[in-house]
């Protein structure tokens, strides 16, 4: 008897997706498929558009992380014209982006994954939402979550012009400088954000590391994969969100190498499968070996887990302290090499360390006198040709690559988006969770669906983004099918 299991819909996620689990004649997991059901085609219909419009056009790939697309596009457009924006413009982009990081990581930690991490897997379903989280941590903190999100969007509106889909980054810089009054408003917000980020790390300590049941779940081997990791680092090897080189480390901590964004095609290729609209990026020099762990498999992981593993630390003092503690707790030294953290659940912790870094960095930026300079746009003089722009989106390394004619009209577009990099690891985590929980056709845990969804949420996947393509809802359906392909059962959570 082969059985097929379907989950529909996956909720509290950004974008669409569907899971199919097939069982073999013994009732054990034979193969798991995670499908992405749509394509919007940005790479095709952006051809013919003026390159300066790409920051606005591509921000519509994702309403959850439009800032990431807006700035990756602006960097690619800068590169197309070979123009370097003035320092104040680069600082404004970074300040907006750090505020976005605090906001986005807050949303994920409290609203999307909070029910898993803070309440734990055995909480009643009716409480497993943001209101249940607020109840557990107290109404005052709930208010601060809302305040932090509002303040973050206020910073984005001041610098980016709008709260969703910003409009101010253009080739050569920004369309708007920062007034002194606006700078002062942001300085106040940055201080609040720093407090909030510190508090969030304390909460993680108390509730997660202080609670054995939750700790076991978040740091469970069920969600462990030995893969490569990649992320942007600055010149001293610290985590960077907007500028730097991409560093790649092997599952045993060995350095594979580091490359400039424009060299991405020497390092990354995308594998295709006929059962999904999304591609599977892998490390070219290792090769695509299928959905498997290990040093011989080209599968790599990005996002908070990947960034921290690929770096040597954080560029601000308090975040660096938290970084050191994270590795002291979760990693070890083998043959003189620091071992990467392979537990997918550790992403939640890594995310909060990044939140702290972003808030600290905001304070450094608002205290720089040049932040209110009106010199925010350089006029390019070179003939436009081709350019690559890479940023770290919260969900992973995001690359925009444009080719233009000599008028700066786009002739070709290639995009590799944050979550797409993680498509193979996410598929593997789902498969691992299913194998751990289904034996001989029997689901060994009533929380199967919850646990499979948790395997997902640790990555904070955004499939709207991933396929430049997807509409929103994330239906997760697990259908059990027999070896004849017939549907035996559809599992839904009520």
């Amino acid at each position: 008897m082969t059985t097929r299991l379907t989950i529909d819909p996956i909720t509290r996620l950004e974008g669409h997706g569907k899971i199919e689990i097939f069982l073999d004649a013994n009732g054990d997991v034979d193969r798991t498929y995670f499908q992405i059901p749509e394509l919007r085609g940005f790479e095709a219909f952006c051809v013919g558009r003026p390159v300066e419009e790409m920051p606005s056009l591509t921000s519509r790939i994702c309403g959850v992380c439009p800032e990431a697309h807006h700035l990756a596009a602006a960097k690619a457009a800068d590169a197309v014209y070979g123009v370097t924006p003035p320092r104040p413009a680069l600082m404004l982009r970074e300040l907006m982006y750090d505020a976005f990081y605090v906001t986005d990581h807050t949303t994920h930690f409290y609203a999307l994954s909070g029910p898993d991490v803070i309440l734990g897997p055995d909480a009643p379903v009716a409480e497993r939402n943001i209101l249940g989280v607020i109840h557990k941590v107290g109404g005052e903190l709930g208010g601060r979550v809302i305040d932090t999100r509002r303040a973050g969007h206020r910073v984005i509106e001041i610098i980016g012009g709008r709260r969703v889909h910003p409009c101010t980054a253009v080739p050569g810089g920004m369309t708007k400088s920062l007034s002194v009054a606006e700078r002062d408003e942001i300085a106040q917000i940055a201080t609040q954000m720093l407090d909030f980020a510190s508090l969030s790390l304390e909460i993680f300590d108390q509730i997660v590391t202080g609670n054995p049941a939750t700790r076991d779940l978040v740091l469970s081997d069920l969600f462990r994969h030995e893969t490569y990791y990649a992320g942007l680092v600055d010149e001293s090897g610290k985590v960077a969100f907007l500028d730097g080189r991409i560093n790649v480390v092997a599952p045993d901590g060995e350095a594979l190498g580091t490359y400039a964004p424009a060299e991405y095609r020497d390092w990354i290729a995308e594998h295709v499968e006929p059962w999904t609209y999304l591609k599977f990026p892998y490390l070219k020099q290792i090769g695509w070996k299928g959905f498997v762990d290990g040093k011989d498999s080209g599968v790599y992981c990005v996002g908070p887990l990947g960034r921290l593993n690929a770096a040597t630390g954080m560029a601000t003092p308090r975040a660096h302290e938290a970084y050191e503690r994270y590795f002291a707790t979760l990693s070890s030294i083998v043959d003189g090499r620091r071992q990467p953290v392979h537990l997918r659940g550790a992403s939640h912790w890594a995310r909060l360390i990044e939140m702290l870094y972003a808030a600290e960095r905001m304070i450094e930026l608002v205290n720089d006198e040049e932040i209110t300079s009106t010199d925010v746009r350089a006029v390019p003089t070179a003939t436009p040709t081709e350019g690559v722009g890479t940023v770290e989106a919260p969900r992973g390394t995001l690359t925009h690559h444009y080719w233009t004619d000599d008028r700066g009209i786009v002739t070709r577009v290639n995009l590799i988006v944050g979550t797409t990099n993680n498509y193979a690891p996410i598929t593997m985590s789902i498969d691992r969770a299913a194998r751990g929980l289904i034996h001989h056709g029997v689901v060994v845990d009533n929380g199967l669906l919850d646990r499979i969804e948790m395997a997902f949420r640790a990555y904070d996947p955004c499939f709207g983004c991933a396929t430049h393509s997807l509409p929103g809802q994330m239906p997760l359906e697990v259908t059990l099918r027999g070896s004849d392909g017939a549907t035996i059962d559809v599992i839904r959570r009520d």
Binding site: R12, P37, A44
Partner: protein, 342 residues
């Protein structure tokens, strides 16, 4: 005092980026007031209700549904029909649902070519030219993927729509007004405007709420922003040579983009009484250009290198054109008309 029964609210995303949902979530504390008056019965972004739960509801039992996203797949059509059937008031919410938005520019390209571009891209490893298949079988396993429709459609091209809320995304303050108005109407304390009206926006144009100073001046050329030196902070962007879509675009956003030094790109769609956004904008531009000779006109048009993008950036799918006038896209248009009619 007897508590008033709560109204039933749903929000859905079809082919969308999720920005409309974010804009609603940005209501912040106001969303708690909202929860006092509405029971959220379906909202995939935030809660765990399933399609089967919606199917089990009585027809017309959802008081208010905000439907964002365009209709791109067979799955989107199914949900549009289901929510129409279950909703007393169905609102096309945001640019994708009302006019197709930027992803509607895909109607310039045949669907096969969209897929080929994605699956033969410069970093793609695909020597066997594999394409996603709606039905794929291997080793006795069969997997289905929703099929893409031949073109992007707006919600009202597929089902009847009661109201439209424009914007990419609708501004949070406008959303608060719409929800308050519908809530008051459901309580019998307000009257909704005639069915088919635009809610959550003004009746004029972005220029009317833009703070930049306008002097009626003739334009000798259009320029692209990267070619211009720093702009004057208080002067109309169109007068400084930037093609700004303010004259044809509905107000209600607060003219945020021009205020931040960026031209209006038209996300609030056509103003009242305008049948075709692109035609209206073309006429607005024509009225300010200073050209009498054919050569002058050619020179000025050179400053607008992407006419279809300029005039139909957000509105192509909902416009009179709907799709490119190529034989393949016209055949696709006819095909989708048949498919939707079924």
């Amino acid at each position: 005092m007897t508590p008033i029964a709560k109204h039933r609210f749903a929000m859905y995303w079809a082919s969308s980026c999720g920005g409309c949902d974010i804009s609603v979530i940005n209501l912040g504390e106001a969303i708690l007031d909202f929860a006092e008056h509405f029971d959220i019965v379906f909202w995939p972004a935030l809660m765990d209700a399933k399609y089967a739960d919606v199917e089990a509801m009585d027809d017309g039992s959802i008081d208010l549904t905000l439907f964002s996203g365009s209709i791109r797949t067979t799955e989107n059509v199914r949900l549009a029909r289901l929510l129409r059937q279950k909703s007393a008031v169905l609102v096309a919410f945001g640019s994708c649902a009302t006019e197709g938005c930027i992803p509607g520019l895909a109607n310039l390209t045949a669907t096969d070519d969209l897929i080929a571009t994605a699956f033969e891209g410069p970093s793609t490893d695909n020597p066997e030219h594999i394409r996603p298949k709606p039905n794929w079988a291997s080793n006795g396993f069969e997997l289905e993927l929703p099929a893409l429709l031949p073109i992007v459609n707006t919600l009202d091209q597929v089902v009847e729509v009661d109201y439209r809320v424009p914007g990419c995304p609708p501004e949070t303050e406008r959303i608060a007004e719409v929800v308050a108005l519908v809530g008051a109407a459901l309580d019998g304390k307000a009257t909704l405007p005639p069915r088919g009206s635009v809610l959550g926006a003004g009746h004029s144009t972005v220029c009317d709420e833009c703070r930049r100073e306008r002097n009626v001046k003739r334009l000798e050329r259009f320029s692209r922003i990267q070619a211009l030196p720093p702009l004057q902070p208080d002067l109309c962007l169109l007068e400084q040579g930037l093609p700004c879509n303010g004259p044809a675009t509905r107000d209600g956003c607060g003219a945020k983009c021009p205020s931040a030094g960026a031209p209006c790109i038209g996300c609030y769609g056509a103003a009242d009484g305008v049948t075709d956004y692109g035609a209206r904008l073309l006429s607005a531009f024509a009225s300010v250009v200073d050209a009498n000779e054919a050569d002058d006109i050619d020179r000025i048009l050179d400053g607008l290198p992407d006419p279809v993008g300029q005039f139909y950036r957000f509105s192509l799918a909902g416009s009179l054109l709907r799709a490119a006038r190529t034989p393949r896209q016209q055949a696709a248009l006819a095909g989708v008309a048949r498919e939707v009619a079924q």
